[in-house]
Every structure is written in structure tokens, then in C-alpha cells.
């Protein structure tokens, strides 16, 4: 655990403390860590393992099972393109492909400058405004392929502020 800062170790322990006494605290701990840091690398999983008594292998299994958890840091902007049935028939595949083309990364990857991550999502429950894109919690309705460059420019401008 050599490359975790003392502050990070303390924070992770503090998160584990929150669920002291819970019978099955793993999901809640991982969820808090994911929200706090944006990812859950192996050395963090080791601390959680020692605290919860759940094996590292099992924790790794949980982290890789749920797409909400991530092993690698995500970008400043996480572009979640819904590929649920409604969005898909309304052209969501072309939308996500356009994001990929402009940013030069595949779904699940992050740009080298740490600015953007593209996630392919299953139905986010916004079928009425398909195709929907959710970026850091903000939902963009009825996104046309032609609107994609503008969205990226807008985010870049925000990111440089």
C-alpha cells in the first residue's frame, strides 16, 4: 500500500467506520469510496478487506460486477450515453460513436488529459427524451449527432474555467 497517501488511508478507514456494526457493509463502503474518489483500486480494496474480513478476491469480484464501480480513475466529465432500447432505436449508437470519434476513446475509456470518460449505459429511465445522455448527473435530452461537437466544446470550456 506504499503509494496511498496517509490522508487517503485515513479517509478510507473513516468510510469503513461509518458502517461499523452493519452485517453486510461492503456495498455501502464501496459506494462511498467510489463517490469520494471516483475509483476503487486494488490497494484500497485491500484496506476494505482487512476492515470487513471479506477477501480481496470477493471485493474485486463485486467491483468488476457492477458497472457503477470503477477500477481506474474516471474523467472530470463522465459522459453516460444511454443505449437502452428506446434510445437505441432513436439513434443512440450514432451519438456514442460520435463522442468516441471526436474524443478518440472507446466507451469505458478516459482521455489522456483526464477530462472525459465515455460510459455506455443501459436504460436510465428517460425514454421519453430519447436519445438521452447523462453527463455528471445532468441529463441532455434528444441529443442529435450534430449536437455532439457543441456539447464537447461547452464541457471543455467549463473544464478550463
Amino acid at each position: 500500500m506504499a503509494h496511498l497517501s496517509e490522508a487517503a488511508v485515513a479517509k478510507i478507514n473513516e468510510i469503513c467506520d461509518r458502517y461499523e456494526g452493519e452485517k453486510t457493509p461492503l456495498m455501502m463502503i464501496l459506494s462511498d469510496i467510489q463517490k469520494e474518489y471516483g475509483y476503487i483500486p486494488l490497494d484500497v480494496q485491500q484496506i476494505v478487506s482487512e476492515r470487513t474480513g471479506v477477501s480481496v478476491a470477493e471485493i474485486y469480484g463485486v467491483v468488476t460486477f457492477y458497472s457503477f464501480f470503477s477500477l481506474k480513475p474516471k474523467g472530470k466529465f463522465v459522459i453516460g450515453c444511454c443505449l437502452g432500447t428506446a434510445c437505441y432505436v432513436k439513434g443512440a449508437q450514432q451519438v456514442i460513436d460520435k463522442f468516441s470519434e471526436i474524443l478518440g476513446i472507446k466507451p469505458g475509456e478516459t482521455t489522456d488529459d483526464g477530462m472525459f470518460t465515455i460510459d455506455a449505459l443501459r436504460c436510465i429511465g428517460a425514454c421519453g427524451i430519447a436519445p438521452a445522455v447523462s453527463i455528471n448527473g445532468k441529463v441532455y435530452p434528444k441529443v442529435a449527432v450534430s449536437a455532439v461537437p457543441g456539447i464537447i466544446d461547452e464541457l471543455r470550456a467549463q473544464g478550463e474555467e
Binding site: A2, Q46, V56, A57, E58, G61, F65
Partner: protein, 590 residues
């Protein structure tokens, strides 16, 4: 237990409440094909869908390994819907399986192939994508080949049941799911202790030991003076490789077979077990006298040593510094014995037949080398010896009973034999400690208190006014309890025996597979009783020995008189003792 009424194929039966359909059917004389289920409940995930049957009150077909029977249930195994579904389950598994069965080392012991035959699975029924696979043969002990994995989860369960914080788990999702250490690392980059329990339960060739038969072949071909030694637990199980009943001791036939395989000398690791006791008992009494680190813990099991280094690097001074018996023997063979018979140590090649996969890792440890020569050059498991014998055209069951080579290092006592079972090292040490402390032999050599298969056993003995409290455990779950006590300073013990595998070496990761499907002549409860049966083979050999205490081994005495001086002497330390690595990282940075 209350009895309930069920019907199978329309025939009424009374069975115990609470059984699964699979278990109930078995008791009534039916064999439902099943794959992921193992040892009534040790691993039942209902994941493979091979045991599907019809049962009244259930929607659709049910997995009989997890579905409980209830009053009035009518079960149909043979309906067209059930037989077709079982066959389809197996065909689907086969469609994502590396089917190089001819060359697969699990051939003849493969439960997937067995259920394929039982269900009548047809070739190539489903064709499509294959899950990306991992082949890991980086450790000297265990090979993981996920192209053969059926995701049954037995290895995951066994690893956790035996060792608590297991190192195997399911990772990724859906079709990409595989079983492996976290991050799909190699075992060598994870805190795997290489005990091989996962190999023993794996129904297919996904987990196997790494073979060293080629190394032995090469040494023979190069004209080396190849000497073999066998661990005690091997003789209690080798016969199983040739269809003999579990618990049949085959010491005589094993010696005969090894001689016919071309080994120049056939020795018994038990000689070195006696030597280990002389060193270890002396070390223990020295620590008691001089205020050394107590409790002292045995160091014969390389799986346990791996665990100690990974998890208790701060407590390693509690480990006995004794090398494990076969490593001691290697060092003695290449010094004392080589000199006596006029063979250059560098021309000698020492092969150990062990019940263990972790011994293969131990053999390669940098510490276990004397004067630039490896103490032991190759380790073969009991299963590999079985293969070697079959390959060489030897009809094992027809062999005469022969003995080990009679030479200056062949004698062994009953104390050495019982090293192969949990509690054995402790009992052997106590037999000698009693003598050293009191100057006389104890009446009755057996220490029943330390025998048995409970996870942790403890006992207290009065050895000439010296109260000694001891504990015995096997499997790392128990070890963790005892080591945490030591770390917290609350351990009440003077001496602790720890073996890596539950039950000790008789249940080692290199022992013959115990698979109900391939043991039609064993009792139904064989998975519960095989350890005790193998242990009984060793205890009976102990009883047959005229000498049952290590310190009465005349050849060990001669070894001290002529060569080593006395136990724990400077020379003994050079050859028979070792050091441990307190800096082993569990998950080294890649």
C-alpha cells in the same frame, strides 16, 4: 430428524427432512448427474444446471443440488423434458470449453466428461463466442487454465473454507466471468499459499499441479545419481491411483515401483522426520530454557510458511528455524551420504515424492540451498508418481512388497510416520521431549489428545514438572486464530503445530482425487471419511514399528555422532535450519 414422504419416478420413499433432492435421491438409489455440487453442501451454488429434475410444487425444472425435498413431493428424473434439459446444460458448458481431452491431465478424473457421458451430450451442438481465457503457469506449484473452467465455484469455496480469507473469486460479469485471484493475477503475484486444495476439488482441468516429471526424466537421461525419498502421507494414498480402497497402505509396493522406475536409491523422508524432531525438540527446550520466542510453531508445512510470511511477517521469530524434513534429507544426502558412498554432491539429484503442491514452491526457495547446490532438485506429487508408474508399464497392484534401501539413512521410527497427519508432528515431538526432559521413556507412546480432525485442538502435559500447553491446527482459518493470539500477547501455548491443509498432509494438494463419481466401491460418506481412513493407515504403520520415538533411531544417532555433533550444533544449523522472508508482499506492484 423427521421423516417425510416423497415419490421418485412414482415410487414412494421416506427420507429425512431438510435434504436436497440430489441427496434424497442418492439415498433412494438414484444418481442424478451433477457437476457443481460437492460434498453435500460444501459447495452448492446451483450454478451448472446439470442436475435439473421435475418436482411437483416447483415452477419449471429445479436444480436438485439446492432444492429441498418436502412432504408429498413427486420427483421425476427421467422425463424427456428433464433429460433433454440436463443434456443441453452440459452441451452448453462444452460449447465454451477447451476440449483437448486426450491431452488433459484430468482425463479419467474429469467430472465434466463424466456428466457428458451420463447425459449423452452431443458434439458441437452450440457454437459461438468463447470467453477470453487466462493460462497461468508462473508458479512452480499450480497451473490455472480458465479455458477448462466451468465456473462451479468449488475452488472458491474450498479456499475460503480452509483458509478463511480465500484468494480465489469470481470476477467480471456475464459471459466474461472467470475465476481467479483479484485482478486476474497470477497466483505468484497474490498471497496464494499454494496448498493445492483448489486442485483437489476442481472437477475439470482448470486447476492442476505443475508437473516436474520432465525434470526427473532429464536428470535420469543425463546420468545423474538420482535418489528418491517419499513423504509418509504418500504411502497412505498412492494405492488409490490404481483403484485400491482408500486407506490401503502401500509402502511395500511403492518401494518396489520406485526401484523399477530407475531410482538409484529409494529412501523414506521419515528418516529426516526423526532428524527434524531431534532438532525441533532441542530448539523448543532451548527456547524454554533461554527465554526464546514462545510459543514455538512447527515449520514442516510450506503452505503454512507461505501464509506466515504473507500475513504475520512480524511474528516469524515464533517459527521453528528447522527446514522441512525432505529439505533436511536433501542436505544430508548431498553431504554426509554422498561422501559415504563416494558420489560427488553435484552429480546427485534428489527427488521428493510429496502429497503437496506447495513443496514444489518450497523446493525453489532461495534459502534452501547448501554450498550452491539445491537441497532438493525436484518434487513430484503422489498423483504424478501414479502417472510415472502407469507410463512405465508397471502393474502396481501386482508388484511384490519390497522395502526401502537398507543403508545408513534408511531407519525410521513410528514418530516419523505420523508426520503425515495433523497432530503428528506434535505427538512425535512430545514423545521425544518427554524423554529429553525426564531421561526416561513415557509409559504408552500415544498422545491421543492431539489426534483428531477438529480445527483447533489443545492439550496440556506435565513433562517432568514442566507444564507444557500445546495447540494443533490445520488449515489457515485455525492458524489465524492462534497467530492473532500471539500478536496480541494472549497466547497460552508453549508449542503449536500448524499444517497448511485441513487434516494435514494426508489431505494435501498433491494427493489422489477423491471423487464420488469415480469411487463406486467406497461408502456413500467417503468425502467425510477419507481423511480418517488415510490417517489410520499411518497410525497403523506407527503401531507396527518396533521403535516409535525419534530419539531411538540408531542411524540418526550415528549421523550426530559421526557428522553433525549434537542437535542444534553449528553444523546442524548450516545444513538443517533456514530463515524466512518477512517482506513478502501480498499483492506486489505489477
Amino acid at each position: 430428524m423427521a421423516l417425510i414422504n416423497i415419490k421418485i419416478e412414482g415410487i414412494p420413499y421416506q427420507v429425512e427432512e431438510g435434504l436436497t433432492i440430489l441427496e434424497a435421491a442418492k439415498k433412494c438409489g438414484y444418481e442424478i448427474p451433477s457437476l457443481c455440487a460437492y460434498n453435500h453442501g460444501e459447495c452448492n451454488r446451483g450454478s451448472c444446471r446439470v442436475c435439473l429434475v421435475e418436482a411437483t410444487g416447483a415452477r419449471g425444472l429445479v436444480a436438485s443440488c439446492v432444492y429441498p425435498v418436502n412432504e408429498g413431493m413427486e420427483i421425476t428424473i427421467s422425463s424427456p423434458a428433464a433429460t433433454k434439459a440436463r443434456r443441453a446444460s452440459v452441451e452448453l458448458l462444452l460449447s465454451n470449453h477447451n476440449r483437448n481431452c486426450q491431452e488433459c491431465d484430468k482425463n479419467e478424473k474429469c467430472e465434466l466428461l463424466h456428466v457428458a457421458r451420463l447425459t449423452g451430450a452431443r458434439e458441437g451442438m452450440f457454437q459461438g463466442s468463447q470467453t477470453p481465457t487466462t493460462f497461468d503457469d508462473l508458479t512452480p506449484s499450480i497451473v490455472r487454465d480458465t479455458s477448462k473452467c466451468v465456473l462451479c465455484g468449488r475452488c472458491v469455496t474450498r479456499c475460503q473454507n480452509a483458509h478463511g480469507n480465500g484468494i480465489l473469486g469470481f470476477e467480471n460479469r456475464g459471459f466474461n466471468t472467470i475465476v481467479g485471484p483479484a485482478e486476474n493475477r497470477s497466483f505468484i503475484e497474490s498471497p496464494c499459499i499454494m496448498c493445492g486444495q483448489c486442485i483437489n476439488v476442481c472437477p475439470t482441468g482448470a486447476l492442476m499441479e505443475k508437473s516436474e516429471i520432465d525434470k526427473v526424466d532429464a536428470a535420469m537421461a543425463a546420468g545423474k545419481y538420482v535418489v528418491v525419498q517419499t513423504a509418509p502421507a504418500v504411502r497412505a494414498a498412492l494405492g488409490e491411483e490404481f483403484g485400491m480402497k482408500i486407506g490401503t497402505p502401500v509402502t511395500g509396493k511403492m518401494c518396489a515401483a520406485l526401484r523399477r522406475l530407475g531410482f538409484k536409491k529409494v529412501f523414506d523422508t521419515n528418516f529426516a522426520a526423526d532428524l527434524t524432531i531431534m532438532e525441533e525438540a532441542t530448539e523448543l527446550l532451548g527456547r524454554i530454557k533461554n527465554g526464546g520466542a514462545l510459543p514455538m510453531i512447527t515449520s514442516c508445512s510450506p503452505g503454512w510458511i507461505n501464509y506466515a510470511e504473507y500475513y504475520y511477517g512480524d511474528q516469524l521469530d515464533h517459527l521453528s528455524s528447522c527446514k522441512s524434513p525432505h529439505e533436511m534429507f536433501g542436505a544430508i544426502l548431498k553431504s554426509y551420504y554422498a561422501e559415504k558412498i563416494g558420489v560427488k554432491p553435484e552429480d546427485m539429484f534428489v527427488v521428493s515424492i510429496m502429497p503437496c503442491s506447495s513443496k514444489k514452491y518450497e523446493e525453489q526457495r532461495p534459502e534452501l540451498e547448501t554450498n550452491g547446490l539445491r537441497d532438493v532438485d525436484a518434487v513430484l506429487t503422489t498423483r504424478e508418481l501414479g502417472k510415472l508408474i502407469k507410463r512405465s508399464g508397471i502393474n502396481f497392484t501386482k508388484l511384490p512388497d519390497e522395502d526401502f534401501d537398507q543403508d545408513i539413512v534408511h531407519d525410521y521410527t513410528g514418530a516419523g510416520v505420523i508426520f503425515g497427519v495433523t497432530g503428528g508432528v506434535m505427538e512425535a515431538a512430545l514423545r521425544t521431549a518427554y524423554f529429553v526432559l525426564t531421561g526416561k521413556e513415557r509409559e504408552g507412546v500415544v498422545f491421543n489428545e492431539v489426534r483428531g480432525f477438529e480445527s483447533i485442538r489443545e492439550a496440556e502435559f506435565d513433562l517432568a514438572g514442566q507444564k507444557i500447553k500445546v495447540a494443533v491446527t490445520s488449515g489457515m482459518k485455525g492458524a489465524k486464530v492462534l497467530l492473532d493470539q500471539i500478536r496480541e500477547g494472549t497466547s497460552p501455548y508453549t508449542f503449536i503445530e500448524i499444517m497448511g491443509c485441513p487434516g494435514g498432509c494426508i489431505n494435501g494438494g498433491g494427493q489422489p482425487y477423491v471423487r464420488e463419481a469415480f469411487l463406486p466401491n467406497e461408502d456413500d460418506d467417503i468425502l467425510d471419511t477419507y481423511q480418517a481412513k488415510r490417517a489410520a493407515a499411518l497410525y497403523s504403520e506407527d503401531e507396527r514399528q518396533e521403535l516409535r520415538q525419534s530419539h531411538r533411531n540408531a542411524q540418526v544417532k550415528a549421523l550426530y555422532d559421526e557428522f553433525l555433533g549434537e542437535p542444534n550444533s553449528h553444523k546442524a544449523h548450516e545444513l538443517l535450519h533456514t530463515t524466512y522472508n518477512k517482506n513478502r508482499e501480498r499483492f506486489p506492484q505489477k
